[in-house]
């Protein structure tokens, strides 16, 4: 009797559209190859450890994981070994105690800093197109420093801005108390009100929702759409809704990463590994692409979404 193939796919924020999409594409692979995909959400380290145990108990042979924290690395590796499970990571790469990547675990992803840099570059390009002078522009850094990925993303953007003549004192922190739009909106409103003298603004943050909050804030204090450049990360519905609005808003673009490759290919690679003993590449890096109001459908199609 041939044992059925069972593969786990654990993600850190199951409610996020991004992970929903990853799961959706992984399911597609499962249907094509005829294996069972077990999807588990694990918001913190403890849930993750339980999830791995759970997979082991169900008789899975391997799993793909996007970990809530990369420092969990040694723990995940040990747990996977204890349960005799093959391990691959997606999106976030595991590191060991001294912060170095654990290279023996196959990984597919894009570094948070890289995404941030793409955002920064998109903002800089748009500023040039509008003819703004970097010294006169204020930047809203919608921050959620509790989450290391969020810090890396905004730091990436800031690095690019600075390299293009942005003054450090014109970058203002708007800390979100939670990762939703309302919290970002409230925090960004304060920044705008405090610096009422600045007329041109750019905004970036952890994801589309954060940047949307900053854009809404600019609208509520009366900054016109051409006085704001917000570039988000993710490119899912929140961003699309924005692009579909009848008139352009300050939300200029979003850096889309392809959940298709991340979901479909990782699941497929894991299947090949288990079924045919074909070990996946140790490191596959994907790229993010900027989508804007006029080309978002094309970009999404290129990335294999929709």
């Amino acid at each position: 009797y041939a044992q059925e193939t069972k593969i786990g796919f654990i993600v850190k924020q199951p409610e996020e559209p991004w992970f929903q999409d990853e799961w959706k594409f992984a399911d597609q692979a499962a249907k094509e190859k005829g294996f069972t995909l077990v999807k588990i959400g694990a918001e913190d380290g403890e849930k993750l450890m339980s999830a791995i145990d759970n997979l082991g108990a169900q008789g899975a042979q391997g799993f793909v994981v996007c970990t809530p924290d990369v420092k969990l690395g040694p723990g995940i590796v040990a747990k996977a070994a204890a349960n005799n499970l093959k391990l691959m990571t997606v999106d976030d790469r595991l590191v060991n105690a001294d912060g170095k990547p654990i290279e023996e675990v196959p990984h597919m992803g894009i570094s948070a800093t890289k995404i941030g840099e793409a955002v920064g570059q998109a903002i800089v390009d748009e500023m040039k197109a509008r003819g703004w002078k970097p010294e006169e522009v204020g930047a809203i850094r919608v921050s959620y420093d509790q989450l290391p990925t969020a810090v890396d993303r905004v730091d990436g953007a800031i690095a690019v801005l600075k390299a293009n003549g942005f003054k450090a004192e014109n970058i203002f922190d708007a800390p979100q108390a939670k990762t939703d739009t309302e919290a970002a909106l409230n925090a960004a409103t304060v920044v705008l009100n405090k610096n009422a003298g600045i007329k041109q603004w750019v905004a970036f943050g952890l994801n589309d929702e954060a940047v949307l909050g900053a854009v809404r804030a600019s609208e509520s204090v009366g900054i016109p759409a051409d006085g704001m450049i917000g570039v988000g990360i993710g490119g899912a519905e929140s961003a699309i809704n924005e692009f579909k609005k009848p008139t352009a808003t300050g939300f200029v673009g979003s850096v889309i990463i392809s959940p298709k490759r991340h979901g479909y290919e990782t699941a497929l690679n894991m299947y090949e590994w288990i079924a045919n003993g074909k070990e996946p590449e140790k490191l596959i890096l994907t790229a993010g692409s900027l989508a804007k109001r006029d080309d978002f459908q094309k970009v999404r199609a290129e990335l294999g979404i929709e």
């Binding site: 409610e15 996020e16 559209p17 929903q20 921050s143 959620y144 420093d145 509790q146 203002f172 922190d173 708007a174 800390p175 108390a177 939670k178 990762t179 939703d180 739009t181 309302e182 909106l185 409230n186 925090a187 409103t189 304060v190 920044v191 705008l192 009100n193 405090k194 009422a196 929702e209 949307l212 909050g213 809404r216 609208e219 509520s220 204090v221 899912a236 519905e237 929140s238 699309i240 809704n241 924005e242 579909k244 609005k245 009848p246």
Partner: protein, 316 residues
């Protein structure tokens, strides 16, 4: 003269006085605080918490508890957006949202009052269920608004002040009146103060509790609609953790968790203290991690001051 001043400071409205003093201090020492723009921003930032606090006050005063408010706010926002997208009518969307809010509240109320299930557990359960519904109905994604007029709910202004703030003020006035001047309000306080005595006095305890939760649902829906308009989309992840902010604003404002004590002035102050704390921390550019500490310390200080005040008065 000094005596009457002391009376004001230590009286029932003492927290209000402390608040006014603190407000004055902040206005003087924090740059950009007392500007029209910042005041409006501040008020807008407390709209959700403030609206929901109106009915949470009733809930706590009747010795109950509602953890499902955050989920209802998110769900009602989704419903408003989806229904108005589907029918093309904003009015229908709003009505649908209010109805959904009322329905969830009614379920809470009936389960708690009639089946006598602990309010904490019941609303924890509906909190999960309703959040699940919000996520399922939209497949976990934000839903955009088709009709731009919907944005006007939050953007429109009257005498230079945005509509949501007016709604908030109106609800404060209405629920302040309901609490102090109506049979419903007094019954609520009586139920919280002594449920047994209220029942024996012929107060319809079950019906009052069901009404409280239903109202809570409706009011959360109002907050949800305004929030959706403000962030120009229905978001299933909105308002996570709202319940704790609202409950702590109420308790800070002197509403007793042991029931029977509530005042709208206190709740307003509670809501404002929390809002001002956030606002000032951002104005002063306090780093995110330190904000946690400051937030905690302010909470403690506010209650501590209030306690010192009342024990100076010899009350416990």
């Amino acid at each position: 003269m000094t005596n009457s001043f002391k009376k004001v400071l230590l009286g029932d409205q003492g927290l209000v006085v402390i608040f006014v003093l603190a407000f004055a201090l902040v206005s003087i020492f924090v740059p950009n605080f007392l500007t029209e723009r910042n005041m409006l921003g501040l008020l807008q930032s407390v709209v959700t918490v403030g609206i929901v606090a109106c009915t949470m006050m009733f809930c706590l005063a009747a010795r109950d508890f509602d953890l499902s408010v955050g989920s209802i706010v998110a769900f009602a926002g989704m419903v408003a957006v989806m229904a108005s997208n589907a029918t093309g009518s904003i009015i229908v969307g709003i009505l649908a949202a209010l109805l959904c809010g009322a329905a969830v509240g009614l379920v809470n109320g009936v389960v708690i009052a009639k089946f006598r299930i602990n309010a904490l557990i019941t609303t924890l359960a509906t909190m999960q269920i309703v959040r699940g519904l919000a996520l399922i109905s939209s497949d976990g994604r934000a839903v955009g608004i088709n009709d731009p007029n919907f944005y006007q709910l939050a953007l429109s202004k009257l005498f230079g002040v945005p509509t949501p703030i007016w709604v908030l003020l109106l609800l404060f006035v209405v629920f302040g009146f309901v609490l102090n001047r109506t049979v419903f309000g007094k019954n609520t306080l009586a139920i919280g103060g002594n449920p047994e005595a209220s029942r024996l006095a012929g107060v319809n305890v079950d019906r009052t509790r069901i009404w409280i939760f239903t109202l809570q649902g409706v009011v959360c829906a109002i907050a949800g609609i305004l929030l959706a308009s403000r962030i120009t989309s229905g978001q299933p992840n909105a308002a996570v953790g709202l319940e704790l902010s609202v409950i702590s604003a109420c308790v800070l404002g002197g509403v007793s968790l042991a029931g029977g004590r509530a005042a709208i002035a206190g709740v307003i102050v509670g809501v404002m203290i929390m809002g001002i704390a956030e606002n000032v921390m951002n104005l002063l550019n306090i780093p995110a991690f330190y904000q946690y500490i400051v937030r905690g310390v302010i909470l403690l200080l506010a209650v501590l001051l209030d306690n010192l005040r009342s024990s100076a008065l010899g009350r416990r």
